[in-house]
Amino acid sequence: MNHHAVEIIDYTWKYLHGTGEAVSGLNLTVEAGECIGLIGSNGSGKTTLVNSIDGLIPGQYHGIKTGEVRVFGTEVEEYKRGELQREVGLVFSDPEAQFTAMTVEDELVFGMENLGLSLKEIQVRLDWACELADLGSMLEKPPYEISGGQKQRVALAAVLAMQPKLLILDEPTAMLDPISRARVFDVLARLRKERDITMILIEHTLEHIIPLVDRMVLLGEGKVLHQAPTREFFDDLTLLREQGVLPPSVVGFSGWLRESGRVDGPSALSIEEAADQARQARGGE
């Protein structure tokens, strides 16, 4: 039977001491191999949602849950302890907070050891993750002594080395400078090209996730407000602006051209596409 990677049905979660429902009657499906971008303002329920998919909710938090959160066909609460994490990898926004070892090498290996892999397999995966995230030169360094960008690449590589079928990234570049941010997205782009991995990406810098994701999902007040394939998603800029989503300059410019009737067709998602639309608009004038 072919299951969805993630299937969330009428899911509601309220933290024990929370004032309201963090997620309220949410429905969402993610297909295997699909990459979705999850956006929304602070408090919209993004982190609660991904923590629910990784089993941290309800495992690590107290609250009231209704509805279903299914990962590869099985409700998350039915997974045995540690089993769900074989399928789902989660990268947090603060790289420092997620370090569990005292050298980069041990950090990369920790998750694989928890899976009980053989030393041979660990070495193969370690080499692969190091190569992918360009970490070969810093294996012996303590993870808390490297730069912010390197830290996040270590955190990402540590999760990738576990080779999860579903990778969740919760604002992985929130604490990084633009260059480090670009390097993290380079790693993700390479990963998408080389592996058929399902990905859920929470990120505020839309210009980085647009080239990466197949579909965008907008959350607000714990519900899915809007979801569509990436290009279609940016057709309705008014809705996005109402929800506090500031589209990238390229998308905004393309939207202005379309709204003012200078060009027809879908939104531009890259500088090249926007330049084409600008040329088209000038030709029309």
């Binding site: 923590n51 994490q85 989660l90 947090f92 370090f99 009980g116 660990i122 999760v159």
Partner: protein, 288 residues
């Protein structure tokens, strides 16, 4: 350069070829040596041997410089508490009575014995911390088959200490940026206002604990897991013949020390040439 628990060491040091278990054994056993040695000169010889080990391991001796003021202060305190504050003992030999306070030779001798016991113990710890990385402690414990949970808790405690200090620095800077500074204020004021640092630090620690727990769960770690861990860290260190030899030498040295001390009465106060000489000088000076 590689970072150790106490500083940095050049990549070329031979100490990297020594198995972590040997280092831990060295710390545990050699730091006991002074406990069985009363003769000051033998403990002084042990100090010189430890300095020699620091030099050949290519540890910067500047590390020791940091401890010199501490060693002097400690020596002064020990000497004062044994002599000036040592009480009156009519059965002991007086070497002088400055300001009417009798100073006994036996108390000076005891102060010297204690001081020269503490110094090599500290230096053994300095040698260990200067030549050992955090990871090696974990490897040594795992090699000794100490359960992973225990090893991991110790390792994370070491890591947490650094994180708490870093958090404390952040909290202090944040407080200072908002005009809160105890610089130049009295000690009672500083102690009272320390609460202003402690509350955010405590809150931050709780948040870090939550994040860390989430990270552990997300990486598939479980205290009650039945998965057999492959102990990758042990594959990075090989116990070679020279490690076995070093262990043998350390243990043989300890056994020889015990035999000499309790079998042949060596390393005792009576056996000390230095104390004999010093006692003779001080007492003859007092008699004159």
């Amino acid at each position: 350069m590689k970072k150790t628990l106490l500083g940095y060491m050049p990549d070329e040091s031979f100490i990297y070829h020594v198995h972590p278990s040997v280092k831990v054994l060295f710390l545990l056993v050699v730091s006991l040596f002074p406990m069985f040695i009363s003769a000051v000169e033998w403990n002084a010889a042990l100090i010189l041997f430890l300095i020699f080990l620091l030099v050949v391991s290519r540890v910067s001796l500047r590390i020791i410089k940091i401890y010199i003021p501490v060693a002097i202060s400690m020596g002064t305190i020990i000497l004062l508490s044994y002599t000036v504050l040592g009480g009156r003992h009519p059965e002991f030999s007086i070497v002088g009575s400055p300001l009417g306070v009798p100073i006994y030779w036996e108390r000076i001798r005891d102060a010297l014995v204690v001081y020269f016991r503490i110094l090599p113990m500290i230096l053994t710890m300095v040698f260990f911390l200067s030549t050992t990385r955090e990871r090696e402690i974990v490897a040594a414990f795992r090699a000794a088959r100490i359960p992973f949970v225990v090893t991991y808790m110790i390792a994370m405690s070491m890591r947490a200490a650094g994180m708490v200090l870093e958090d404390f620095r952040i909290v202090r800077q944040a407080e200072q940026a908002r005009g809160f500074d105890t610089k130049g204020k009295s000690l009672p004021y500083k102690i009272r206002k320390y609460v202003a640092y402690m509350i955010p630090l405590f809150a931050l620690s709780l948040r870090r604990a939550e994040e860390f727990t989430n990270a552990l769960v997300a990486r598939g770690y479980s205290f009650r897991s039945n998965v057999k861990r492959p102990d990758y860290i042990l594959s990075r260190y090989r116990f070679r013949w020279w490690d076995a030899l070093a262990c043998l030498v350390i243990m043989a040295g300890f056994a020889a020390l015990l035999a000499a001390r309790y079998g042949y009465g060596k390393f005792t106060l009576e056996d000390s040439i230095f104390l004999d000489w010093l006692g003779g000088r001080l007492l003859s000076g007092a008699a004159a």
